[in-house]
Symmetry: C3
């Protein structure tokens, strides 16, 4: 696909300064964009790249005033980043493979009705009693266990495994290798030191518009459900234990671990590698810095860091004091000397 | 399946207070159980839910004395949690899908004998010389490499990958996406800054009654074996490196990482996201708090926390002192002022 | 396969002390090697095992002088560890399964040319327009999306998922369950608290001689590429986010997480469970201790530990002071008492 700078400007309601015929085939970052790439300047930190850019064209704010001569073609818009996102969504719509039909060989239980606009990839397994929504994509080598329901427009990428009885909403995206509904980690200690498995009879329920990253694991509940609410986004390699509840529009970065029966609120932002203890409650709009460990319940609207987690402002101060600790030891030694010398 | 409260009471040797015909179809937690759910009250923390519960029936201790009027049907038993676990195991026996036979298409090397009561799911791969025990379940899309042995009654869930030559015991459970026997991370640094791969010629041996969580990885040994002893339970997304040895009945929570050649004892409890260094020895009955980092060997019967790990009681004290650090700095400044003013 | 001690000595230019006919069938560690195993003694820490070893033979340095009588057969060489690695590579060459041909059923798009010496395992999926190098191995249940290129001699283990458009170099090894090219974690926050997905239109490029561990995830770029340079080795369960760049010959231990757009230099050594923040630059030859958290850019040639990361020598000192903190509080209290008493 190729568009001219003028065509791009017309789509997003912008104005070309420079060559309106500049041919654009791809997107790239301003520091590396080549002659056929469209790029953007939004963060002033990157402004210096503008004057040497070899890009085909740069989306730039209407009120941006260059401080040096500009050779590259500009497309002036109100909000360069929003314009870029709009163009990216358009290109994505046009180019993302949108497979349809049932590839062979695949395994679809005879009890299952496959919607006419759905995709079942080769080597996918769709078990007894599975219910598939309109336009569902089940990519190759995915596994959908007995009795699972999958809502309209949801995309299950290659190799995802969904155990029996789980419920997936509409317009969800589950990336390759994610495992939904494996047994929760429940074992009762016996007197002889061995462990007896507690059956995990519950299921996982994922509401609409949830995205789940590659190789993330969400365990089925012991009883009842493990629940991910609408609009929540989970990155890769995250662990959600049995009976956890995550509220709406919460985002978790990669490698977060949430222990059993924890309740996490809505609109939280959880950094990478954070650990959250079991049986605690985290409120709404809680922000948590990367690698933080949360051992106990947290009210809404907090920002936490550290291990164990404390208010981020307090934690930052603690780090400063820690750096001055050798100095403090020396000061105390000096005081002791002074006192002894008196 | 539906049982009456009276039928449930008869199975577990309990006594109904309330409606003996209350129809029960499912289990749930006391705070969310609906009219057809059986629930239980064991932890006094949850007692307040009893008086407003909409459950079909509640398993409760014989000696529990309510402090308010109770409307819900009770089933009196000696130990509510044990009674619940007994019922859950019974239901699990009756309801868990117990597949049998060889689904097509699957790939079973001609050298392999499939026991008559085994299950081989569609798209499963069973390589040359594999030995399968009685009642083994190899679920769809699982991979069992050449020469692997799998003991009686072991369940290999969808998409598990077991590399050639590994040995899995009896009654093990390996959850979806786990990888057993990939190459250990062994590379020799060369003079020019590149790395030369050291072949990983060993294997993984997993003893009886081990459970391994979803997407956990256990690497094959450089030489000899990586070894998980009988009765040990590993949660999801755990990394066990080459030549590690884990003792019997040790439990590890999610996202633990154990580096190469570490030896971990029996009956340990390792919290989530813990890291254990290579070539060290951890004794028996060691408890380790979540996110702890263990850089060196640990004798038996210790309880550790922190990074680097120290005795948990010492670590908890350290946390208290850390919180008082700003105050200490102020006190020292005040002392200095006092001294200078004299 | 069986070799005599004499045959082994001839291959590696060594000299037998003891039984030249000792039959050797396997490798093992000195502390556990049985009568048909060849082992080695390189680290003096393990010298005590020599005098009780039941091994078939021990590779040992020419200048090693035993301090007790030795019963086991020795093979004297200049560098025991290098000799062992040489023998292991030889055995690996001879014994590692080298599959060839196309197993059925598999899915290879009609547009794809399969080299005559390549291997496509059963249930593997090779999409439209994929380009396969000579001798490529695509193991069972692997997924290679549309337009992917894979270089000569690269091995893709069972169940690996490579999304469309990614580029894999020559002689790479990608272990089971790894996911290459899933969507980066990019969502724009909306005014109503929901998130809007930013399409991830880029790809992943992996240069020659890279090894990637089991269940590791490397996300595709938002635009442009996520890039792993030549010779770099990644262990299991690592997360590499969108637009990250990793230099040449860098090694990362298991469970490391690298956030979006971070740039990591060449010849770095990153310990297990380390977290690296987004949009920062880590120089060349940086060493990072396990569990370290790196929040900001780091120049070349540093050695870091702690959370947040500081120079390792400074961190080690800080740990010492932390241990003495209770003592310091007591000293300050004592000073205050002394002053007040005056």
């Amino acid at each position: 696909m190729e568009f001219s700078a003028k065509q791009i400007a017309d789509i997003i309601g912008g104005r070309v300064e420079g060559n309106p015929d500049a041919p654009l085939q791809t997107f790239d970052k301003i520091e590396s964009a080549g002659p056929k790439a469209l790029t953007f300047l939004s963060n002033p930190k990157y402004a210096s790249f503008l004057y040497t850019s070899k890009a085909g064209a740069v989306l730039i704010a209407e009120d941006f005033v260059p401080t040096q001569p500009v050779e590259v073609t500009l497309i002036r818009v109100a909000d360069p980043y929003a314009a870029l996102a709009q163009l990216m969504r358009m290109v994505d719509e046009l180019t993302r493979p949108r497979p349809c039909g049932v590839e062979q060989p695949s395994f679809v239980d005879e009890s299952v009705t496959v919607p006419s606009d759905a995709y079942i990839g080769a080597f996918a397994y769709v078990g007894k009693g599975v219910k598939l929504g309109a336009g569902v994509q089940i990519h190759p080598q995915a596994y959908v266990g007995a009795g699972v329901t999958i809502g309209d427009g949801t995309v299950i990428y290659p190799g995802v495994k969904i155990y029996h009885g789980c419920k997936i909403g509409n317009r969800c995206v589950i990336h390759a290798g994610a495992v939904i509904g494996a047994d929760g980690f429940g074992f009762a200690p016996m007197a002889d030191g061995t462990y007896s498995k507690i059956p995990q009879l519950g299921y996982v329920e994922i509401d609409d518009d949830v995205e789940i990253g590659a190789n993330t694991t969400i365990d089925r509940a012991t009883m009842g459900r493990t629940h991910i609410s609408r609009g929540t986004k989970l990155d890769n390699l995250i662990q959600i234990a049995h009976n956890v509840e995550v509220g709406a529009n919460t985002v978790m970065a990669s490698q977060v671990g949430v222990a059993g029966s924890a309740k996490i609120g809505s609109n939280c932002m959880i950094g990478g590698q954070v650990g959250i203890a079991g049986h605690i409650t985290v409120g709404d709009k809680v922000n948590v810095g990367a690698q933080t460990g949360i051992p106990s319940s947290v009210p809404s609207d907090k920002t936490l860091m550290g291990y164990p987690a404390i208010d981020s402002s307090k934690w930052l101060r603690q780090c400063v004091y820690l750096n001055r600790l050798p100095d403090l030891f020396q000061r105390v030694s000096q005081i002791e000397k002074n006192i002894n010398n008196k």
